[in-house]
Symmetry: C2
Subunit: 287 residues, 2 copies
């Protein structure tokens, strides 16, 4: 059996009882560690689970999945995924390959950022499609997120923005020299995301959002040091110190808001008067 | 401290290690049991947790929350919610009341149907707003879901449809006589949902969807007996026996689909040839 086990969002104690039983009894345990991270190190997990873990990088999962699936027709293999196995990052390709090899698959769900973000106080019912924001470079500034946000906002919906992480990426310079030396990990902040969003709006000028659009910055959702900061996109460009370390994510509000959402989120506002002012002018127009 | 603890989707072993520690040490433990249910009885939870549990019905949570919050400034109170505390059912009002009483609040996230539904093989990125479907009666047939689905489908997105449950509802007859005698619990099936959806389309005739629109029926998501059945809305009117017992939910597909989604979901199709035919004709048009 291939078990896809969600680890939740924060630390070693976020695994479910069911998930922990699978990990303890599996023949081999893999950890997918290139699309998201927990806030604790692999060694903490290993000591808590009482098992050694093979870290599965992108290359292994995408090009060498048969090693992960080896003998899973008769043995139990646990594949651990931060969050939920079918949440922000899905592993449908691994499951399809398992099916081809007649390996049964079982999923142990857990919290995903795509539901955990509800803790910011906005109702998940009012979220549209989720978008991803990647680190812009001088010549790569993908802006497809802009059209998706436009669609969401056209019908009044909130947008969850998931922020890029770069883990175990070879530098271009080292790639050119054929050396596998990796860059230090990088995690996009809410401030970087807000700045890139405003840059793209300045380019495109379609008025999908602007410096005074309301948003919520989220850090370490589901963890003991979870932190939310609410404000305009302009305000959120400068709140990274308040938010603290990774992982960050962001929600851009849609106009279809409920009074309870206002009351709940106001508590997190950088500037409560400004929050109230913009809210009254632009939001809560459509139920 | 008020702890909002997610229980996950299925049975007593879906609680996280962190959540179980909270439950074992809290002064009082409440279970919100009117918006969703686990697939096991209260007595199973109590024996597994080693704690007695007070079942909090709607009246208690909405009108008598101060009893739940009593002394939580100095004691730990655990409020257990099926799924995630901020998922499909939010308890923002309870948190707002706790804030007024200067009670700190901590959340222990868990799987929600709003992320767990990803196990059907559709990418959560491509879901729009979630809608609810209630049991129609002769003179109450709320159809606001129809406009929401129309919005989602206008931009190519999937729609998660959450299905009504009636737990501990007094019958109208008994209400009239002033007796608190409750109806047996009822859980809407995928077949009932599909039928009601088609009825509303027949009334409104806006062509938002039709008998040949593709959908996925889901039963007991996240549980050991999880079951998915994919087909047209017409086909799903008759699949309740295959799906089995509660809880059910449904996804109506949007046209923005990926080839991997096709391959993954096809496995669940009532009629694979028909699935392929409709998919090729109507879906996968927009990436």
């Amino acid at each position: 059996m291939l078990y896809l086990v969600g680890l939740g969002l924060s630390d070693e104690t976020d695994i479910t009882i069911k998930g922990l039983e699978v990990v303890k009894e599996a023949s081999r345990v893999y950890l997918e560690a290139y699309t998201s991270i927990l806030l604790v190190d692999q060694s903490v997990l290993e000591s808590y689970y009482g098992r050694s873990i093979v870290v599965a990088d992108r290359e292994m999962v995408e090009s060498n999945s048969d090693e992960i699936l080896r003998d899973a027709q008769t043995e139990d293999v646990a594949f651990l995924v931060v969050g939920d196995p079918f949440g922000a990052t899905t592993h449908t390709d691994l499951v399809l390959r398992a099916r081809e090899l007649s390996i049964p698959v079982s999923t142990v769900p857990n919290a995903s950022i795509m539901s955990g973000i509800g803790a910011c106080g906005l109702q998940l019912y009012n979220f549209g499609q989720t978008v991803s924001m990647v680190f812009f470079t001088d010549n790569w500034r993908p802006a497809s997120f802009y059209d998706r946000i436009k669609e969401n906002r056209s019908i009044g919906l909130h947008t969850l923005v998931l922020l890029d992480i770069k883990v175990k990426e070879p530098s271009l310079e080292n790639l050119a020299r054929g050396r596998m030396v990796y860059e230090p990990p990088r995690y996009m902040t809410v401030g970087q995301c807000a700045s890139q969003m405003l840059e793209v709006e300045e380019d495109k000028k379609e008025g999908v959002y602007g410096p005074d659009s309301l948003a919520i910055g989220a850090a370490r959702v589901g963890g003991k040091t979870e932190k939310f900061v609410a404000g305009t996109l302009k305000e959120l460009c400068d709140q990274d110190e308040v938010l603290g370390g990774p992982l960050h994510s962001m929600v851009l509000l849609g106009r279809r808001t409920h009074e309870l959402e206002h009351d709940f989120v106001r508590e997190f506002a950088v500037d409560k008067d400004k929050w109230d002012f913009v809210w009254r002018a632009e939001y809560g127009k459509q139920q």
